[in-house]
Structure formats: C-alpha cells, structure tokens
Amino acid sequence: MPDVFVAGVGMTRVGRRSEPLPDLMADAAHAALAEAGLEVPDAIVVATMNPEEFIGDGNFASNVATQMGFADVPTLRVETATSSGAAAFYAGFAQVAAGLRHTVLVVGGEKMTHLTTPRVSELIGRSIDPYERAYGATMPALAGLVTRALMTRGAANAREIAQVAVKNHANAARNPLAHFQDAVTVEQVLESRMVADPLRLLHCCPISDGAAAVVVSAEPARVRVAGIGHGTDTLAMRHRRELTSFGATRMAAREAYGMARFGPERIDVAEVHDAFTPFELISLEDLGLVPPGKAGRATLDGETALDGRLPINPSGGLKARGHPLAATGLAQIVECVWQLTGRAHGRQVAGARRALAHSIGGLATNNWVTLLEARG
C-alpha cells in the first residue's frame, strides 16, 4: 500500500457560531487547502451527522461542495454518527491509498446551538437503538448506565472521573479555538447539576458548532498516516455483555496498531473521545495506553496532563474544546497534526513524534483509531 500523508489542516473556532454550516465548513476547508498549497482537490469527502434535522438541508455533499466553490469536484458524504469525521478521514485515506485519487479534501462540520437543548438531545439520540429510545434512553442516560457500572466495578471513583474534566478544561484554556476557555475545579464538577445519575453536567461535553478539514495526499508531507482501524459493536446496549469497555475501540485499536506496526507504547500524545469524562478513562484502557484498571489513578497522578508522561486531549477534548459532532473526528486529527509539527502554541507536547486520535460513533457502535507519525 502506498504511503498517505496529511498535506494540510484547518479548523474553525468551536462554540456558538452564527455563520451557516456550509460557510464554517468552507472556512476550515480553504485553510487546509491553503496549507497544502492546493487550489482544487481531486475529490472531497464531507462529514455531517444529521444536517437534515439540525438545519433542514439534505444532499449535503453537493450542498457543501457547491457553496465552497467546488461544484465540479467529485464529492461524497460519510456518516457513522458522532464519529463521522474520523470515518470521512478513512474514506479520503482509502481513496489515496488505493491510488484512485492523488489529493482528497476531507471536511466535517455540524451546527446545533440554534436549537434548544432538549431538541439537540433528541436528535443526537436518534443514533440510539429505537427500542431503547422508546424507554426514554438518551446519550447521557446510556453513559450514566456505563458510568454506574464502571464505578461499581471499582474501576474509577468520583474524583478520578471529575479530574478528567478539570484536566481537559485546563488544556482548553490554552486553546484559542476551544469552546470553553475557563478552568473548573473538582469541587465544581462534583457539585454540578445531576444529569443521569451518577453523571453530572460538568462530566458531559457541551453542544457546539464548528468545522474541521484535512487534506490527504500521495505527495510526501511532514505527517504520514501510519494506521487506521475501524471497530463496531451492537446498536443496542442491552445486547452487550460488557458495559465498561468498548469492544469497538479495542477492535479499531488492534487494526490500527497492526497497520502501523507499532503499539500503544510508542504514542506520545492522544486525542480521545471524552464526550462523557468516564469515557476517557475507559478508552485509555481500551486503547492500551494505560494498563487495565489504572486509568483513574494515572489521571489523578497527572500522567495524562499536558506535562505528564502521556498528554491526553491537549486540545481540551470533546469535553472542553467542544463536540461539533461530525467535525470532532477531524478536529482531533487537526490537533494531532499541530502537535506533530510543533504548532500547538501554548499547549505543545515537546518532541511529539506519534499521535493517536480516537473517535466514538453513537454509544460506541462505530469507532475509529487513527495513528499519525511525524517525518524527518
């Protein structure tokens, strides 16, 4: 398989945005293209989770391509719920790796803040098994079930779960593009409003707008795509034997490490899907980045902080950079590329050579692991 490189990246500020979604996506896309020194890509892959319902527009590949001035460039759309951005990256990578295209622009975005929170929750909840949804299950509800099981197993305690939020807010405060720019304390997290017992408001990511873009290319560039893995699991939570580990992450990690021919011990920095803070702890273990049962302790000990052994979510993660759904998987890759090329100003992980991005689709039904490597 020929090597595939990241030639350029770009993203918008994440948060409450007034611009239309195609404009946000065009901003991110043109920034990535400018960095790649590319006027027109050979093809485009668009990631949006649910523009049909969030903004009332469909046929979104053509919509975005036209509005960013690329009506004549072949464009397709990819969707795997909240991991759509990572899935789109794979689709772009695969086209280049297969020799079908020389350069592919991958752009993802979502816009939700114009809707009420219950409405957004309902629309994101469409990715849940319909039978479980009929019982009132929402994403926070399912995450609450996971968190209770995790804490009962003794795999994480309330302080450890809260510390993930504290760490990621502290990182976001160093990222001018992050949704949240303020620090939080363990006490604030533990005293925030109960959402889905034992999950509280400050354990959950915000509702955000934003877009991110990556240009993948067959032309050698500073960052190489070392491996990509895809993992899946049952749509229904009740069909799983295990709640406190995500099989889809383990499957994706195995495949990605296999392709890269290196393991988790070589990773210097990672962006991990922390839509709910306990998920960061679960994922660290599923990805093999910390030994089983050690994620909570490692977090409390500062191992995953910006100045720790293995910085996790230097961007602030979904928790504090924000989670504009289909933009997120690409925003993680953008952050990894900035880290690998020494451009993560104010939050740079010194000497980072290999980075991992981990994206969860739905309640861990469709997950991705992307490994990136600095060259030269």
Binding site: P118, S121, E122, G125, Y131, E132, Y135, G136, A137, T138, P140, A141, G144, L145, V146, T147, R148, A149, T152, R193, M194, V195, A196, D197, P198, L199, T234, L235, A236, M237, R238, H239, L243
Partner: protein, 128 residues
Amino acid sequence: MVVAPPASYCPHHPVLMTPDSLPGIGEIVSFTTLHTPPAGFKSPLHLAIVELDGGARFVCHGSDVKGLKVGAAVAIEAIDNIYYFSNLGTLDRARLFWRRAGRAGDRVNAIARSLAKRMWKGKHRAAS
C-alpha cells in the same frame, strides 16, 4: 445469544432466531436516573438494564431506585408492553429459593409464571 424483544437475526450472525421464554427474574446490571428526560416521560425517569436468569438483557423502567444496587435481584413485568423492574426483598428471595427447591404457590412464583407466559424472545440456538 438470547435477545429481547424478538429479532429476526442474531446481532452477531446472519442466523434466524427462534422464540423462547424465560422466567422474569434476574439482576440489575446497571441503572440511572434521568433528571430531565425526553418529552413524554415524567421526571425523574429511572432506567435499568436487567439480566434475566438465562442471559437476556432488558431495558426497564422502575418506580424507585432508593437503596438499589448493581447486582440486586429484581423481578420484571410488562405493563402495556413496557417492562418494569421491582426490587425483590429478602422475603421474596427466600420464596424464590423455595420455588427453585420445588415449592410453588407464592407471590414471586406467580410473577415469574405470568412473565414466562407473556415474554416472547428470540433465541439464537446456533453456535454463537
């Protein structure tokens, strides 16, 4: 694998499933309380995943989670096609023990029997 409600195919294999029934007794796998549930549900909304003796897992509503723990023994029952769990107290568990030991006629047994009649699940009998 045993799934509920009935499904045409096993989630993990393209194999048609066959119906089966189980007594409605099991244990709490996890539970949560939603404080702002979706439209159409009253707050607080108690949700649990219950694993029945026999392996099928159900999502259930409950009227109360006070004192409830993961691993607690519960009975589940469908009302208008929605399953509800209720805690089995010490007395209920003792009765359940006697039912298993061959005695019949107590309340838990009645619940279990009525559930066995009403529940209808797919059971994948091929190797899984």
